[in-house]
Symmetry: C2
Subunit: 403 residues, 2 copies
């Protein structure tokens, strides 16, 4: 239904973007740390946000924008998170929106802002304002890649993509950038991800498409067990494709929603593949649970288990740890009905080890991509979750993050 | 009230113990892997057990013993956990109890059994029976240290202790051994811990003393985020001190319960100090919460956070990660009322960073023992929790556990 195209967040019509260096990550550095995405016309906006009580000041501001449902722009800096920064932090977040709004001649309440990086530091507002000015000057219809790079922190590669979706009366485009490599354990929201589209939707319709897409993508990944103070997914739909507004319940809406889900899934998987220190990409598929929520509970426990994640790192087919994590997940199931497969090799059948050869299992664990299937009964509930392994490199990155 | 004495689980009168090598950890190895503790007379028994759905076969058996409330012995092997082993596993657990019961002339239902080690393997019953025979022969009134050593897996040091407690009519003794270094995230139960006492109590009274003691000790620690399939704490009280039975509500019972709590706390802390790869011992004290359960929720989230634990390993005073973990713990509190101190240095006051010097904070993180105080408001709820740091060594131990 949808095909990959170039251009990232600028692939949809009527969007421009930029990414510049303003010395926020490190004074004098050439590393890009300010990103701006602008819709030429007023777009509808929908967003999902972290449930962390210490939610960062810009998250609070941008929630307010999305509640009103209209936006012209997203500005984001990396290096400093503007979290746990009190009323000064809130003033700074608003000031960011104000400077961007003045530069693009938009109402301040139509500018989404975000900050990602170290918690507990105030933003260097002089450099932020310099960064905004630089972005305004650099705004281009092919600036998506620069924006993708500017929002990175410990990410090793930028994440962006775009797809074209055929609807009954013509095509629309969806573009996205995302960042996140550690502190990734989203629930109800996720790391930073910005999605643009030139489809036309009311903010309610956009929300109705975005919510399930995020729930089955960004909310189904983890790198570590820490939910960030700054998680957000924001989607702007500006209707620049010139097609009629998509209404929930129609075939076109379903096609669009499915494409949005595909984009979210691809970006979420890209975050896990670039997870801090990750040497493996593990897909955990739980089936046969009482309901989807129960399946997710089991999948999440395995995905977060330090012992499963170190076993993956060690290429050890230690399915006992997988069973153990399922057992403490809090989900209800009958352990005697559980079957487990490692990349297609059944190692546990109905609660008991099969007679598999350890060398067969070991060979499967040596692959970069590993798939774990767990069937816990014959219920209709299922979930697919993605996680990375826990390596020496993860410890190194996070023991020394601020130094 | 209580003073430390020698002898471990054999310090209380009327107990003998042994620990021998039977080649279960590794055929032909001299490493002790079978432990036996015997009370000369019938003792009352109380226990708390893992809530993992994949609870190991011996856990199910021993729960049955403790429900009946009487026991003569505890037998435990290390090396193989007898978990996820189906009906053969249950038969083997019962067979262990049977062989021990025959050897000490006790009813089979008065023998507690336990197994710890690799999940998903059947017990080598020939070697187990050899181990039981060896233990029966080696039983001695000073065998506590051998038993403490025989239950170790990745532990680097044996954990045992004993105290003498003065009651109104004389003294009683409490002894304990415990094991556990990884897969430590108890909830409602814990790693293996066996406690003996020559005090006299009904099984209901023993349970009433043991439950809160475990809840504020073994249930307040973690090394990683994995709750074992084999967790148990079992306490035997044989009354051999010759004092009257301790009744809940009396001053003597309170003194005994407090001493039991002290023993549980010391053993729980010993597990964390010997946590896999641990280079730090971190005490997390939460105060001012709405209730104790809320305080524990906050403390546990910080204690389990991979980002907090790697920051401790890196000696980084990254309190932003502590605030972040409190924020996603699920506990309700006002982030603007939160104050955080690192070993006495206040770094956050009422939701905002204080003007502390980074060098002061860094100096505190260089200590082996670190204390984190978090005040979240002015409620009466509090909790003290203990955790270790997440190091390269943890990853090395667990990436290669089975090889």
């Amino acid at each position: 239904m949808s095909k990959a195209i170039e251009g990232g967040v600028c692939a949809p019509m009527g969007f421009r973007a930029a990414g510049v260096a303003a010395g926020i990550k490190k004074p004098g550095s050439e590393k890009k740390d300010c990103a701006l995405i602008v819709s030429d016309t007023e777009a509808t906006a929908a967003g999902l946000f972290t449930t962390n009580l210490f939610k960062a000041a810009p998250v609070r501001w941008t929630e307010g924008v999305c509640i009103r449902g209209k936006a012209r722009a997203v500005f984001c800096n990396s290096g400093v998170a503007n979290a746990v920064t009190g009323s000064i932090g809130l003033e700074n977040a608003q000031r960011m929106a104000e400077v961007v709004a003045a530069g693009i001649d938009a109402p301040i309440i139509q500018v989404c802002v975000a900050s990602t990086g170290v918690i507990g530091m105030q933003l260097p507002m002089d450099r932020i304002e310099k960064g905004i000015a630089g972005c305004l000057e650099a705004l281009r219809p092919d600036g998506g890649a620069d924006a993708a790079r500017a929002i990175m922190t410990t990410d090793t590669v930028p994440k962006e993509m775009a797809v074209e979706v055929e609807l009954s009366l013509g095509s629309v485009r969806i573009g996205a950038i995302a960042k996140g490599s550690g502190m990734i354990n989203p629930n109800m929201a996720t790391m930073l991800a910005y999605i643009t589209t030139d489809a036309a939707l009311s903010s309610e319709a956009l929300d109705a498409a975005l919510r399930p897409a995020v729930d089955n993508s960004f909310n189904c990944i983890c790198v570590d067990n820490d939910m960030s103070t700054s998680d957000m997914v924001v989607c702007l739909a500006n209707g620049a494709a010139g097609l009629p507004s998509l209404k929930p319940g129609t075939p076109d809406f379903a096609v669009f929603a499915e494409a949005l889900h595909e984009v979210c899934t691809a970006m979420a998987q890209a975050l896990v593949r670039d997870g801090e220190g990750a040497s493996k990409f593990i897909e955990i598929a739980v089936a046969g649970a009482a309901d989807d929520a129960t399946a997710k509970q089991i999948a999440r426990a395995i995905a977060q288990s330090q012992l499963c994640k170190t076993a993956f790192a060690g290429e050890d087919a230690n399915w006992g740890r997988i069973a153990c994590a399922a057992g403490y997940s809090g989900a209800a199931f009958n352990p005697e009905r559980v079957s487990i497969s490692l990349s297609g090799l059944e190692v546990v059948h109905e609660g008991l080890p099969t007679g598999y050869a350890e060398t067969d299992a070991a060979a499967r664990m040596k692959e970069h991509d590993i798939r774990i299937d767990i069937r816990v009964g014959d219920g209709a509930g299922s979930c697919v979750f993605w996680t990375s392994d826990l390596t020496h490199e993860y410890v190194s990155i996070n023991a020394d993050y601020r130094s």
